[in-house]
Amino acid sequence: MRLRSYLLGLCCALSASALMASVQPVAFDLDGKPVNDLAAPGAHVVVLVFAAIDCPISNRYIPTIEHLRTEWKSKGVRVWWVFPNPNDTASTVKKHDEEFSMATPVLLDTHQNLVHLAHAGVTPEAAVFSVHNGQLHEIYHGRIDNRYRAFGVERPQPTTHELADAIEAALTEHAAPKPEANPVGCAIVPLGEK
């Protein structure tokens, strides 16, 4: 699906200020190029995982997400890392990606559009959308799994895997189970608070 066309389609009915906002790209890649198309051709599911370069819990989930992307790639699941914090610039995120050997594509959520799209509050937090006839339907947003229950309360390994279950649900067109608890992580830094 092409997100941009929906933005334009919608904007016509809105005020001038909204129109200005609507022409902003949804996000940018690490080369500074606008990205409006979150679902590649053939993608059935889009996954956004919010992250921050200096959030230890978010960083600890990198291997999990990288593994998940590889596992689901052939089934039409498009996974994006989303960096929403104002201080996480293209150059710092690039360096971070190299350090952490991240192969999953990255979006800089410069205007925090995706934060609002997915109702994300912390890093790490995930959102899952199913793609139907070019439209995105939110299936899930919340924690990746139940490894963390609170700061300092951590399971040796997770026993429920909400994100994986939500992707499976999206692929099989079932409802994703609701997570039992909110995600645990670092608060996303509001715009203007570098």
Binding site: Y6, E138, I188
Partner: protein
């Protein structure tokens, strides 16, 4: 529910997006409705920076163990909502003990006032205030916090921690490379990747036993949460908590309490590593800071434990174990280290004093192995003899314990793996009110501790062995032999037990059976190299003390298979010296000192050889070095006095003998020698007192009575002198000098 039923579609989400461009991230936005009176004066500069600098930035600085810095106003403002969340819950700063249950130094718990201030500042919109009011930010840029160490130990091989997965527990070995012993006043650990090393314990392996257990792996580190080390057959109990955590990279020992490293020792860095998301290289360094001042206090680590009671049913959320121990001696408790694994929940430690008073040692209501620590008391807790120490730990093995490593829960018992459990409460105690010359009081404590363990697990081999060693150390050889006999019946071919059993029988006077056991131990096929060396040495030593001709050959055989045994070379050297083979003796003694420059036997024997050859200068230098390393050796002080005496320095000779007498007050020969030197220094009264003391300790010394008579005659007390000479003759009728002195008195 199918996709699209009650889930909002992208269109409506986008509408939200469009309207939400200006007011962003309401979640993390501070509310603005607080009253002015609550918050009007709170600014970062005046109120918040002092809190952060005092409690947070030791970890939260660039390059520190914390994931982000909190040094600047911008840092604090950016993290404000998270700071409020983690301080309200007391997750940060990490501190487990409940306030009011043990008064600890370096208490990191934030006061309620500071917690409230952080919240109020956040709610007030995080004002910066007047920067001129802000304290100077602490500097954390030094490579070593205590300056350049005297010695830096490096990890054998770097270890690569995987990016993800469960926590890793790994042990790295750091051999101590020097040929001389040193006292360590401080240690600093640089873990290489501070953000993934959660905490670390340093253990001292006196016997290279861990390397021997893992000959092929130790260089790259050995997995394992808990390890067991062989402490050898000398009573040298663990004495210091060498516990490292990110905010205290330098471990500084209190005055008078350095710890010791000897040639051949290893430090084992027992680490808890938390994968960070990227693979990390662990290439640690340990910086050691020496002191020449030997310890004047000997602490000891004492453990209460209830491991034997750990058999926790699956699903049980209230499993309680307890242990207690009555103290046989007066102690001061300096620190405490509670320890359990992932099921531990509530931990209580307390003492009931003889007068019935209850003194809390610690209470942790929500145990978290990730935040474990050693806690040191602000003031030592004085606990008199008869005090009973208690521990009571509660475990939660239900599915509702988020830290439970098993899903679903399974029955859990004690063990060394992280998924097993433990119930330990370690205390660092200092034995007080002891007198010089008393047997080491730590032996009494060790005995009580091991007897207590054996009441619960009668066949526990560590307890049996340690009890035997504690008894033998106190000279209770018969009891020690009985314990080792029990141990050797349970473990019939254990070379270590056979050796200890033999040594106890030897102490008891039963050298024949002792010898047979030592022979059996020395030829035991399953013995480790260290065990074989111990047995072979003890066998040769026993024969040497019995003046058996084969002792020399036995030492040579022992040294052929244990060429690095400094003690073996020293004993062979002493034996050769006694047999008049001075040249070869000196060469063996030098070999001993090349392996361990602080080997006391070799130092004393070599000094003896030098003094016999009239070389007081070299002997003096050697003995001064020996005293530096072994300040409590009365023999070294006595020998040094002899060296001073030979060189004509009688004042220093007297000083050294006085030191020896303090260290060994029951040694008649020291008092006697002191008496002689005092007399030569013109102090007749002192000389008489010392000689009288010597005779109190050894009344059958004819020479001593004669010497006392001479001193008293010189003092003009002929009557006393006469009695003394008569006493000498009563003991030894052919004592020519006493007879001549008596005749001389009669002629006056």
């Amino acid at each position: 529910m199918s996709a699209g039923s009650d889930q909002p579609m992208i269109r409506s989400l986008l509408s939200l997006l469009l309207f939400a461009v200006i007011p962003t991230a309401a979640l993390a936005k501070p509310p603005k409705n607080t009253t002015a009176t609550e918050t009007k004066n709170l600014t970062w500069s005046h109120d918040i920076a002092p809190i952060l600098y005092g409690h947070c930035t030791t970890c939260h600085h660039p390059g520190g163990a914390g994931p982000f810095s909190l040094l600047t106003y911008a840092d604090a403002k950016r993290r404000a909502s998270q700071i409020v969340e983690v301080t309200q819950s007391h997750f940060m700063p990490p501190w487990l003990p409940e306030p009011g249950y043990g008064d600890f130094a370096d208490n990191r718990r934030l006061s309620n006032g500071d917690v409230a201030k952080l919240k109020q500042w956040f709610q007030a919109g995080m004002p910066q205030g007047d920067l001129s009011e802000a304290p100077t930010a602490p500097a954390y840029d030094a490579k070593w916090q205590l300056g350049k160490p005297d010695l830096v130990l490096k990890q054998g091989e770097p270890f690569t921690l995987p990016a993800g997965g469960t926590d890793v527990f790994r042990n790295f070995v750091f051999p101590y490379p020097l040929k001389t012993s040193h006292y360590i006043r401080a240690m600093e650990i640089r873990p290489g990747a501070p953000q993934v090393v959660h905490h670390a314990n340093i253990l001292i392996d006196r016997m290279e036993s861990f390397r021997e257990q893992h000959p092929d792996e130790w260089r790259a580190g050995v997995p394992g949460m808990e390890i067991l080390l062989d402490s050898g057959n000398t009573f040298d109990p663990d004495s210091h908590f060498l516990f490292w955590k990110p905010d205290t990279p330098a471990i500084i020992e209190p005055q008078g309490m350095p710890w010791r490293l000897d040639p051949g020792n290893d430090l084992i860095l027992n680490t808890h590593l938390k994968p960070s998301g990227k693979s990390e290289t662990i290439d640690s360094e340990i910086g050691l800071y020496f002191t020449d001042i030997p310890p004047d206090k000997q602490p000891m680590l004492l453990q209460l434990d209830a491991d034997d009671k750990l058999d926790i049913p699956a699903g049980d959320n209230h499993f309680v174990v307890e242990d207690s121990l009555r103290l046989p001696v007066d102690v001061e408790v300096l620190g405490i280290y509670p320890h359990a694994h992932y099921l531990g929940k509530d931990m209580q430690g307390w003492a009931i004093l003889p007068d019935g008073r209850k003194e809390w040692l610690i209470w942790i209501r929500d145990w978290d192995i990730d935040r474990q620590s050693v806690y040191r008391y602000k003031q030592p807790l004085e606990l008199p003899r008869g005090t009973v120490l208690h521990m009571k730990y509660l475990y939660d093995n239900s599915a509702s314990n988020p830290r439970n490593p098993h899903d679903p829960p399974i029955r859990v018992r004690e063990g060394n793996r992280s998924e097993d459990e433990m119930a330990h409460m370690w205390l660092q105690v200092l034995l007080v009110h002891t007198k010089p010359g008393d047997p080491d009081p730590r032996l009494q404590l060790e005995e009580a501790w091991m007897r207590d363990r054996l009441t619960r697990t009668p066949n526990d081999r560590v307890s049996l062995y340690n009890l035997g060693a504690a008894l033998a150390g106190q000279g209770k050889y018969k009891e020690a032999a009985a314990i080792y006999e029990q141990d050797s019946k349970l473990h019939p071919n254990d070379a270590r037990v056979l050796t200890a059993f033999g040594a106890a029988l030897d102490g008891e006077g039963n050298w024949q059976q002792a010898r047979a056991l030592l022979q059996q131990a020395a030829s035991a096929t399953e013995a480790s190299r260290a065990q074989h060396c111990d047995a072979a040495f003890d066998l040769a030593d026993l024969d040497a003390r019995r003046s058996q001709a084969n002792a020399e050959q036995e030492f040579r055989e022992e040294l052929a298979s244990c060429p690095d045994d400094a003690e073996g070379h020293a004993s062979l050297g002493s034996l050769l010296l006694a047999g008049g083979q001075t040249q070869e003796a000196e060469s063996e003694l030098q070999r001993s000192l090349a392996i361990n420059a602080n080997n006391l036997d070799a130092q004393l024997a070599l000094a003896d050889a030098q003094l016999s050859a009239g070389d007081a200068t070299h002997a003096m230098r050697l003995l001064q070095t020996a005293i530096q390393a072994h300040p409590s050796s009365a023999d070294a002080h006595t020998q040094l006095a002899r060296a001073y005496g030979i060189s004509g320095d009688l004042n220093n000779a007297e000083t050294e003998l006085n030191r020896a007498a303090v260290l060994k007050p029951d040694d008649a020969s020291i008092h006697s020698a002191l008496s002689q030197v005092m007399a030569q220094n013109g102090n007749l009264d002192g000389a008489i007192t010392e000689q009288q003391q010597a005779l109190k300790l050894f009344a059958q010394d004819a020479d001593g009575w004669n010497n006392l008579g001479v001193l008293e005659a010189r003092k003009g007390d002929s009557a006393s002198a006469r009695k003394d000479f008569e006493r000498a003759l009563a003991i030894q009728p052919d004592h020519a000098q006493a007879r001549a002195n008596l005749a001389h008195l009669a002629a006056q």
